[in-house]
Symmetry: C2
Subunit: 251 residues, 2 copies
DNA sequence: AGAATAGTGTCTTTCAGACATTATGAG
DNA sequence: CTCATAATGTCTGAAAGACACTATTCT
């Protein structure tokens, strides 16, 4: 099979974004309304073409900024940067009816943003609970209203992104990417509960996260924004891998 | 940013394969010698263009069969099929000097094949220990001979593939993909030792794998192909996820 | 007999799960 | 005072790490 670069089939390459956040104790994804055919008027994941001289990750970061005003995390531990990583690539021949398009999906984990979507294209973008976007096959019996399905194969991509997020927070400290720069143990626990859709024991959770070296760094401050006794504030520590991992309860 | 399919930059899309196996207690990767520029004469990962009407996974499976004669696993638990999964996508603008190429890398875990590479393009393909292909940055101080670097960004791809394999056998039963259809506990342990580059306690390992439901199914047969006391033969069970996981020793 | 590998058992430590109790601030 | 949440502590059981011992075959 000779390597003949002049005889390759031409592809379009796009990046699609699965942008996840936790709002009101629910895992939500960013979706935009399509203004043109195909799938006009339907909700879809944000995304766009990779430019001629642009790296894949750079294209994903550019789309993220255009849609949300967020910037990918810089490791200064301060800014409300979002976590960005490549998710997977989707290239079924018929996934776009117009032409052959290969989409490199990326996963973004972001803290809850101040209202609509600051800095984003106001043009019909919104946060929707993943439980609503994904049919019943997501988490057992879901009986809420089923939203119209997403455009293209975006439901499949979203499902893969949610699954990646769920498994990654088990063995990494990435759950902190859903929190503001300073947060309490209880807020972090509610992130785990929202992403996994379970209830965790607050005492065991506290012991686990405060006992894992490098996971959380106390800032010295306290807050009562959740009501009740003032809680210590923490920042994400330097550790990225959790060993031993946080265990997701069975069933 | 209007979605204008007529104004997209054209890309070539390829699949590259990280095909791993365990030979003589070493983790090895399949590499082929390049017959043309660029990087003529250097070793590279096998791969090729995705065809016009071909899914990404189908392209990877086709390349795998062309190069090795292997077929991706069918879940009949019998055939010596290989495990195939998507790894990641690489698309730096300058990764191929001729044109803009996006490569969707796939990871293949295969049992040790009967000599050279049956059914493959005989044209200069060989198994090379990953330790030799990857410089020192792989596993601490490696003092063996350093092989000439791989073409393109294939060293980076190979490194990512090896890392994926190392972490996946922790929490899945995928290590059995490196074994023939029937194998002993000791042979499976040597797979873990080769992939992780560590020494495991045979007694604790035996307790762990035989005590995990669905991991191994005894076939009733025994073998003495390793010398010593005859060992029971097993086949891979239905379980795919290991819970709790197999723990990789520190350091 | 000696070497090599397989298989079982025991002790200890670590850690998750279950649950009680006290602490602190808001209304 | 009551309520809500935070924080610490105790007991128990599951499982990993370390290591001793027996079993079976080959040379």
């Amino acid at each position: 099979m000779p390597y003949d670069p002049s005889a390759f089939p031409p592809f379009a390459v796009t990046v699609d974004l699965v942008v996840l956040t936790v709002r009101k104790d629910a895992l939500c994804a960013l979706v935009v309304r399509r203004g043109e055919p195909p799938y006009q008027g339907m909700w879809a994941l944000p995304g766009g073409f990779v430019r001629d001289d642009e790296d894949l990750e750079a294209a994903a970061a550019r789309e993220l900024t255009e849609e949300t005003g967020l910037h990918p995390q810089v490791p200064d531990g301060q800014s409300a940067g979002a976590h960005l990583e490549q998710l997977a690539t989707y290239g079924a021949p018929d996934r776009d009816p117009r032409m052959r398009v290969v989409s490199v999906a990326h996963l973004v984990l972001a803290p809850d943003l101040p209202s609509p979507i600051a800095g984003g294209d106001a043009r019909g973008a919104r946060w929707a609970p993943t439980e609503t976007l994904l049919g019943g096959a997501d988490g057992a019996g879901w009986d809420g209203e089923r939203q119209a399905p997403l455009a293209f194969d975006h439901e499949r991509i979203l499902r893969d992104g949610v699954e990646r997020a769920r498994s990654k927070i088990e063995y990494s400290s990435l759950a902190t990417a859903f929190c503001p720069s300073e947060f309490t143990v209880g807020e972090l626990r509610r992130v785990y509960e929202a992403v996994w859709g379970v209830v965790l024991d607050p005492r065991n959770f506290h012991r686990k996260v405060t006992g894992t070296p490098g996971f959380l760094v106390p800032t010295g401050g306290t807050t009562t924004r959740q009501g009740g006794r003032p809680a210590q504030l923490f920042r994400a520590g330097g550790a990225t891998l959790l060993n031993p991992p946080m265990l997701r309860p069975e069933v």
